[in-house]
Assembly symmetry: C2
Homo-oligomer: 246 residues x 2
């Protein structure tokens, strides 16, 4: 069996997330598996680098699949883009070593959360951003972000019930870029817990609004309690930008 | 009666254009009139600077309406953005002189047509752009654009059946900005005929693909015949950017 690596983009708006579901869920993984199974004439399983939640977008999700096919990577790319719905696109197909695994081999990921800080609605970017009317203090958020970076137990920044495994992760960087009405938050790390980016964002926004002090971040991390951190922000502002491999 | 000027943004995707229709059409003007009539408790007519076709977007459409209301412009803006669907937004409301007329007083307009020149689908901008896989020659399009600018009879660049009035217009500028995979075409002029920007675009694209010489533009203008010019490109790539007044 040949092994193929796919780099994917999708608008998550109308999907119930990445992961295939037992019932009739409309998922990205489900769409890809149905198409590649049809292409190969036998069931194909697609392994993603990780799940994205319902409504979350991807500009650089990575997946792989073992398949029996005579097609070249270029032919597979063209076949997929011909038949995929217009909110999913394959931007690269590569043949990789048999043992390549998109999740287990991933070394790091970058997510972007886009905020529109304006009293006026944003018509054109509304599906990809979260709008906050009250003025955000970017410098206070940068200070808080600095305290969140590093290797920590992020139990306070994940939703319950997914895993009993270690919640220790390394958050390499939170880069905050403000230009005009838009503030983009880039989160890079070696791995992210369930809802982690969206809860980090909700906490940073509360700092930006002056409802919390930046200095509270260390206390929240140390508590390891979800009730200490901020609200979960909407999925629509979040995009998986990149998955890094060695 | 007080007179109010509105600056509007909308995503045209799910509308049958600007203009209110006799039957049950879903139009921008229809949405605005229904909302303002409700706000005022009596019928309100909204006058736009011009029609936009089905599927065309606006980042700076201008309209005006005479209304009986005690509300301030700020209150009207907030009321409208609360009740309008999320694909229409009001970005400015101003009280203007009784005689101000958004169409008759308009001195010029700028439209933008966005092309994605790539073999790969563009997931995120697909509703606002038109994708062309074959490589476009930007310099050849600039040469053709230069010949189209100026004061001409644009009969060759309009769809039939709308008017017997003069087709003479001044096209002040066609500015072509290429960056990465995107090529944006800005058309500024004192007025535009039915389908004029989309037929100019279709003709420029044929030049960019090498199917026509740039030098043919003068011949097409002089012919005043629609069959001499290029194809009508899709509405989705077009956005009304600005309407200028004295």
């Amino acid at each position: 069996m040949r092994n193929f690596k796919f780099t994917l983009q999708y608008e998550g708006t109308r999907y119930q997330g990445w992961q295939r579901q037992e019932s009739s869920g409309n998922t990205i993984q489900g769409k890809l598996e149905a198409l590649l199974s049809k292409m190969c004439g036998q069931p194909v399983r697609v392994q993603g680098s990780g799940r994205t939640d319902a409504g979350v977008h991807a500009a650089g999700q990575v997946a792989n699949a073992h398949m029996e096919t005579d097609k070249t990577p270029e032919e597979i790319l063209e076949y997929m883009n011909t038949y995929l719905p217009e909110d999913i696109a394959v931007i690269r197909v590569e043949e990789v070593a048999e043992r390549f695994h998109s999740r287990l081999n991933a070394k790091g990921k970058t997510y972007c959360y886009r905020v529109i800080n304006s009293a006026l609605p944003n018509v054109f970017d509304r599906r990809y951003t979260y709008r906050i009317a009250e003025r955000l203090d970017v410098e206070a958020m940068r200070e808080a972000a600095g305290l969140l970076c590093g290797t920590h137990d992020f139990s306070a920044f994940t939703s319950a019930g997914r895993s009993k495994k270690s919640a220790v992760r390394t958050l390499e960087e939170i880069r905050i870029e403000a230009r005009g009405e838009e503030i983009d938050f880039y989160f890079s790390g070696n791995g992210f817990l369930f809802h982690m980016v969206r809860i980090l964002m909700g906490t940073l926004i509360e700092v930006g609004l002056g409802r919390r002090g930046a200095g509270e971040m260390t206390e929240i991390l140390n508590s390891r309690k979800r009730e200490m951190s901020g609200a979960l922000v909407p999925a629509c502002g979040l995009t998986l930008m990149e998955v890094r491999y060695k």
